[in-house]
């Protein structure tokens, strides 16, 4: 796997504030970062510099992100890799992936997830697909409502094949085997919210309070989204520990 120092990112956005914030983030991790304010400027940078990954906005006045994607992939489909960052309804996911984007993020995006995606794309395909992680860290807000009327807010930090781990700010009073309704905010364009029922399998106390939930029920659209998501993650854990 290539190191950040050996990787050049091209950040493309007509808003300098966001470009600067992303540049700061990636430069502090050791990446070589180049910036461009439009799709047209970005393409000429790619022709003159060895760029590994392009992170581009979609809607820009001078040469939008989709046009840039088309030009880059017509030039060489394998390099540079392209991550699109979409403001709102600029593109459909299907179209973006079909036209060659390696990843699509909605704005505002989770910087850790964007960083993880860059790390993931830095791996050669073979090693990327050979990894079956025990757990994949995520950071998604979740609300729980128990039959007793208690409501709790937490963060999902990991998914397993059959459930998830919820980090809480304090130890929960509810006991294992209690059922609750959950409402998960995924932040994903295709399924921003997933609701359903889950059963508490265990409660974690101490410095990192939380609980392990097993999915029990979700309606058709939530079930589909969840299965799609879990199929992507393919984690080994059934319910992850922390």
């Amino acid at each position: 796997m290539r190191s950040p120092q050996e990787t050049t990112l091209l950040l493309v956005d007509d808003e300098p504030e966001l470009r600067d914030a992303m540049a700061y983030e990636f430069e502090s991790k050791g990446f070589r970062v180049i910036q461009a304010g439009s799709g047209t400027a970005a393409f000429s940078r790619v022709e003159n510099d060895p760029i590994d990954i392009v992170i581009s906005d979609v809607r820009m006045p001078e040469g939008d992100g989709m046009e840039l994607l088309d030009r880059l992939k017509a030039r060489n489909p394998f390099s540079p890799l392209v991550i699109l960052v979409s403001g709102f309804a600029d593109i459909s996911l299907e179209e973006a992936y079909d036209r060659g984007a390696e990843a699509v993020f909605p704005k505002p995006f989770d910087r850790k997830q964007l960083g993880m995606m860059v790390q993931w794309l830095m791996r050669p395909l073979e090693s990327r697909w050979a990894v079956r992680p025990l757990r994949i860290p995520v950071d998604m807000p979740i609300g729980l409502r128990f039959q007793s009327g208690t409501t709790l807010q937490g963060k999902v930090t990991n998914f397993g094949r059959g459930g998830l781990f919820v980090a809480l700010s304090s130890t929960m009073e509810e006991n294992p085997e209690e059922d609750c309704e959950f409402h998960l905010t995924t932040g994903m364009v295709e399924a921003p919210n997933i609701s359903g029922r889950a059963r508490v399998r265990w409660v974690q106390k101490g410095d990192q309070p939380g609980c392990g939930l097993e999915f029990q029920f979700a309606d058709t659209s939530c079930r589909r989204a969840l299965l799609h998501f879990l199929n992507f993650l393919k984690t080994r854990a059934f319910i992850p520990l922390r």
Binding site: Y24, F88, P141, T185, G187, P192
Partner: protein, 67 residues
């Protein structure tokens, strides 16, 4: 109209969120000024709520037929 507004709001919010989170992480790593870190972490949490509201509204508007 609202679609454009939500779109236009997304970029400065993304920039604000990235800057705030990086800053909070750096203050935490430096170990300096716990009170400042506490306030920064509050800002990050509030920012997270604003982002959640925006994401939820985008999802609602997306369901509506485009004007």
């Amino acid at each position: 109209m609202e679609r454009k507004f939500l779109h236009d709001l997304s970029t400065p919010l993304a920039a604000l969120q990235m800057n705030l989170e990086s800053l909070a992480e750096e203050v935490k790593e430096s170990g300096a000024n716990p009170e400042m870190l506490k306030r920064l972490e509050k800002c990050v949490a509030i920012m997270g709520r604003v982002t959640d509201l925006l994401v939820a509204r985008k999802a609602e508007v997306k369901k509506e037929p485009a004007a």
